[in-house]
């Protein structure tokens, strides 16, 4: 009985731990691409939200578990991914696109038109 209480408590503690997902961030002429590893997160448990200049990525791991399962080894400790990024003003978040497949999130945030590189003509005379 006390064992069961103990394991429930442990489980609660583990669920409270958040994991920082591994990311790749690449910038090119027209925008930024962010790729994040979120294994075990179903599509409906993923949040990718821009609030002002903050990008929040959050996802809950939901695994199929077997009845009466006890964890004997855990390298992934925690059931929630979470990471926050600060964006800069030249990014046009209203035009960002996201794709999520096999636990990988790909987020493309284009630069605002006015922020895209252009050549400035130098007038002589």
């Amino acid at each position: 009985m006390s064992d069961r209480k103990e394991s429930a408590k442990q489980e609660q503690q583990r669920a409270g731990m958040t994991i920082m997902p591994a990311v790749d961030v690449v910038e090119d002429r027209t925008g930024i691409t962010l790729t994040a590893d979120l294994p075990g997160v179903p599509k409906d448990r993923l949040t990718a939200r821009v609030d002002g200049e903050t990008l929040l990525i959050e996802g809950d791991i939901a695994l199929e578990t077997a009845e009466g399962m006890e964890a004997v080894h855990a390298e992934m400790q925690g059931m929630r991914f979470r990471r926050v990024f600060t964006l800069s003003r030249e990014l046009d978040t209203s035009k960002s696109e996201a794709a999520f497949r096999n636990g990988v999130l790909r987020l493309r945030i284009p630069k605002a038109e006015h922020a895209q590189p252009r050549k400035i003509e130098v007038k002589v005379g």
């Binding site: 994991i19 591994a22 590893d37 077997a66």
Partner: protein, 150 residues
């Protein structure tokens, strides 16, 4: 220096070392290892193992892999998960800057020793949301059987 050579992915000694650690940790009865880090650095994919009276449940967190490029094998009580994850990062150039390169790329292999009562003929593997879930059934425990005397 030796450390980095030994921990190179795919290195035989690293694999043996990993295997030894897996054997100690997985079924050595030491309980849950309490690492201060959520994920052990350098090991891809991260693995969680659960145990039930009827089965052993293995979860390998391997996102973004083509299921065709994923290999799950059982040989003499050892379960191995191997495959490759290609880097999709572009080349860095004058117009392309890479700010973070944290995601694993390359080939990987992880080996787990199964408990003695694991039944290698009853293993199921599924890939879902970037997690390889391998379910290994245990042999039925030997039931005491009464033998009738005629």
């Amino acid at each position: 220096m030796y450390q980095s050579i030994l921990s190179a992915p795919g290195d035989l000694f690293a694999e043996l070392d990993r295997l030894r650690r897996e054997m100690q940790q997985s079924f050595g009865g030491l309980g849950m290892p309490s690492s201060i880090r959520a994920v052990t650095r350098g090991s891809f994919p991260a693995i969680n193992i659960g145990s039930t009276p009827k089965s052993v449940e293995v979860y390998a967190f391997a996102p973004g892999i083509d299921p065709d490029k994923l290999d799950v094998n059982v040989d003499r009580g050892l379960l191995s998960i191997s495959g490759e994850r290609r880097s999709d990062l572009p080349e860095e150039s004058g117009e392309v800057s890479i700010y973070a390169r944290e995601r694993f790329a390359g080939s990987f292999k992880r080996v787990i020793s199964l408990p003695e009562d694991a039944d290698p003929s009853r293993i199921e593997a599924r890939y879902r949301d970037g997690v390889v879930h391998i379910s290994v059934q245990r042999h039925e425990p030997a039931q005491p059987k009464r033998i009738e005397i005629r």
